[in-house]
């Protein structure tokens, strides 16, 4: 690659980092360079130190935490320590994962001005720079808006604009789309692609879901669980040669690569290299249409659905502070059914799940759980039959150790200690956390926290489990393990209601999909039928799952061929 011959703009040598009171380092001997104008994808399983590395490069670490950094980082040949306070931030900008906690002012304009003032921009230039940056991310109409009224996607665009206004040489994106719905996240990647074509900065992207990013990255750097560099090279080479290793580390693969890998195993993919794009993938199949059937990983539908309805929502409405958050929603959940709730950010999904869990009381309408209204249930008995998993696992933790966390609800029921111990041990074993039993829940890794939060809801063997976006920000392994747990739940006769942005989950697992938009139910039915309803897909900011997209692509290619032939 010709870019590599340029002089590097950022270089780390033997970079190690560890927290002061922890022996095990987060990063170990990390050595890599970033060249002007290139886009690098930083991959790794959760807990591998990707964010830590990003913060070190930005000089946020080790100053912000009690940590020790060994080795060197240099920017344009100058050591990072030699830069004055705040100086490096003009050159290296970062967009964080959480849209809520990265702003410190109340309006869009003030937030942008904040960064520019910090950089000592002459006041008479600030106005034009603000407009310019907002124009780049298509947010100019919102210049005078209050930040808390923006949607999640708009907030991330604003965060991007804040960084761009400083004209950085390097832009670091730390999982910028993790909290966004599929359409907003796609839009953000397109804006970044557009920017990359017109501007000269280098990009360092940390992401789990790679499909939308793959066409704009030149190179991949992969970290393993120990915080060491596993691979550093071109994107094509990375996925061609190391796909299996990446999979083993629990790293998400781009859909095309995953499909190619599966195809290769089944002996239907004939391409020499694993495909990076759909075009390559389709070209590699001898018989694409046949391949589709093999690749389709949809679970076998439960043929013998027990027709017993365990939860019914009747004309649910909910308003808060004069706003109608939910309007007239009705649906039901059968025993053994997997129901998914989808919709854009702010469409009322979480509110609905809280209503179903009995945490909020509906303004109008009724929820029946086993023939009696939720409000008639005794709290203690209800919680033994109905579990709720929060979007953020940390929100759920209330005990001081992993063991107590799971034992908590059992203790409330005054079950004998010996039985509790047995149940907890079994649950910990099921989610592979036995060795962490004495740790504090907050000290676990992201993936472990997620598994713990689900495990604490499985011990009672609840009949219905409600989950609020349990897979967001999780690596491939955690996500897979989680879905396995839920599958077991379903097979043993439990029901699952899950909010998700992940169209692949909808496609592979859901028996029924409910789509919300602005508090109203706009779809209730099979996932397969949903993909064909273009209008609903658009209103709800959904995207077709990969396999459906592939089917369309194959169709259009085949159609094209036919046209050529005739």
């Amino acid at each position: 690659m010709e870019l590599q011959h340029n002089r590097h703009i950022l270089k780390t040598e033997q970079l190690s980092f560890r927290y002061e009171d922890v022996k095990k380092p987060i990063l170990k001997d990390v050595q890599f360079s970033l060249y002007p104008g290139e886009a690098v994808l930083l991959l790794g399983p959760s807990g591998s130190g990707k964010s830590t590395l990003a913060f070190c490069l930005n000089k946020l670490y080790p100053e912000a935490v009690d940590g020790k950094l060994d080795g060197t980082i240099s920017f344009k040949g100058k050591m990072l320590e030699e830069f004055g306070p705040g100086e490096i931030n003009q050159h290296i900008g970062i967009v964080f994962q959480d849209p809520e906690s990265q702003f410190c002012m109340t309006t869009v304009e003030d937030e942008l001005a904040f960064g520019l003032e910090n950089m000592k921009t002459p006041p008479d230039e600030i106005e034009s720079k603000i407009d310019e940056a907002l124009e780049l991310v298509h947010l100019l109409p919102y210049k005078h808006s209050l930040i808390h009224t923006l949607s999640g996607g708009q907030k991330q665009k604003l965060a991007l604009a804040c960084v761009l206004s400083l004209k950085p040489d390097i832009l670091i994106l730390d999982e910028p789309t993790a909290n966004l719905d599929p359409a907003s996240s796609y839009e953000l990647t397109r804006i970044i692609k557009e920017l990359k074509e017109n501007q000269t900065f280098s990009l360092l992207i940390i992401e789990h879901k790679l499909d939308d990013w793959i066409d704009l990255t030149d190179r991949c750097v992969v970290l393993n669980k120990e915080g060491e560099i596993l691979f550093n090279g071109s994107t094509a080479e990375c996925f061609n040669q190391y796909a299996e290793e990446l999979l083993h580390e629990g790293i998400w693969l781009p859909s095309a690569v995953r499909a190619g890998l599966l195809g290769k195993k089944e002996g239907i993919y004939k391409g020499e290299k694993l495909p990076l794009s759909d075009r390559e993938l389709i070209a590699g199949f001898a018989n694409p249409i046949c391949a589709l059937q093999i690749l389709d990983n949809r679970k076998k539908k439960h043929q013998a659905h027990e027709e017993q309805i365990i939860l019914t929502a009747e004309n649910l409405s909910f308003n808060k502070a004069g706003k109608d958050l939910l309007k007239n929603i009705s649906f039901s959940v059968k025993k053994g059914e997997f129901v998914a709730i989808a919709g854009s950010n702010g469409s009322g999904k979480t509110t609905l799940s809280r209503l179903l869990a009995g945490l909020y009381t509906p303004s109008k309408g009724n929820i029946l759980f086993y023939d009696s209204s939720l409000s008639q249930w005794k709290e203690k008995e209800l919680r033994q039959k109905l579990g709720y998993v929060f979007q953020n696992p940390e929100h759920q933790f209330i005990a001081d150790s992993v063991y107590d966390e799971i034992a908590f609800s059992l203790k409330i029921q005054q079950i004998p200690d010996a039985d509790i111990q047995k149940t907890v041990q079994a649950a910990l074993l099921q989610v592979d956390l036995l060795q962490c039993a004495d740790l504090h829940p907050f000290s676990l890794s992201q993936g472990q926290k997620r598994r713990l939060s689900v495990a604490s809801m499985l011990v009672n063997d609840q009949d219905l489990l409600l989950l609020d976006e349990p897979t967001f920000g999780q690596d491939a392994r955690t996500s897979g393990e989680l879905m396995k747990l839920l599958e077991t739940k379903i097979q043993s006769g439990g029901s699952v209601v899950m909010i998700t942005h992940d169209m692949e989950i909808l496609h592979s697992y859901a028996d029924k999909v409910i789509v919300l938009s602005e508090g109203e139910k706009i779809y209730d039915g099979l996932p397969d039928a949903l993909w064909k309803k273009d209008e609903i897909m658009k209103i709800a900011s959904l995207k077709v799952p990969y396999l459906e997209k592939l089917r369309d692509d194959i169709g259009s290619i085949a159609g094209g061929k036919k046209l050529v032939l005739t």
Binding site: L60, A64, S101, A113, N118, L359
Partner: protein
Amino acid sequence: MFLHEFNPSVKAFTVIVCVLILSVFFDPVTPFLTLVMTAAATFIFGRVSFKRWILLFSPFIFMAAIYIWSALIFSKTIEGETILWSWGIFTLTEEGFLRALSLGMRVLSFTSLSLLFILTTKPTEFLLSLMQQCRLSPKLAYGIMAGYRFLPLMKEEFEIIRSAHRIRGVPKARKLSEKMAELKRYAVPLLAGAIRKAERTAMAMESKGFTGDKNRDFHHKISVSWKDWACFTFFIGAVLGSAYISWLFGFLQLYNGEL
């Protein structure tokens, strides 16, 4: 000129000076006239709706009423005062009545001045003005601004923690001891959550190059002009005018340790 455009620092200074002047006098008429004037200014120049104002003002009316009541009932009677009414151990004198009224009016006039400031000032602008006019350290000012954004989030966080307990089947706390235990259980995660959020925001501020440097050129300039000082003079004049009118009618009295 509207009160919203009144420089926040000068406005705050005006309110403080007015309060100080008012505390020198102790008669019901001066604070009453000031109260009327301040309230009128709030409605006319501050464009504050009466409904909103009275909502915030009414608790203080209640408070003032209690003050007046207790000062009436429990006032000491000094030799030579005009007795208006007497029943058993309670004696109401004209002077005692005026004292009680003065106290109540004082409370209300202070309240109206504070409301004038609160209802016509944006917190962000006040902090910007404090930085620009009073050399308040940016570290502190931006810290307060970020913290101000967190306040509504704390309530949300509290709800979340309570839900987390409810889904585990924690029964509702009824007895006092249970409530204390509940509070203790909530306090730690609430604090931990606040600290984590604060850390994240601090990092975001730092990543935008914030160093707390005092030499800062602001995009949003809050200036002081002759208009602000004219406004200042107007309010001080109005308070002194109230005192003058009170003196004309023979009510004016200096505060002399009556309470």
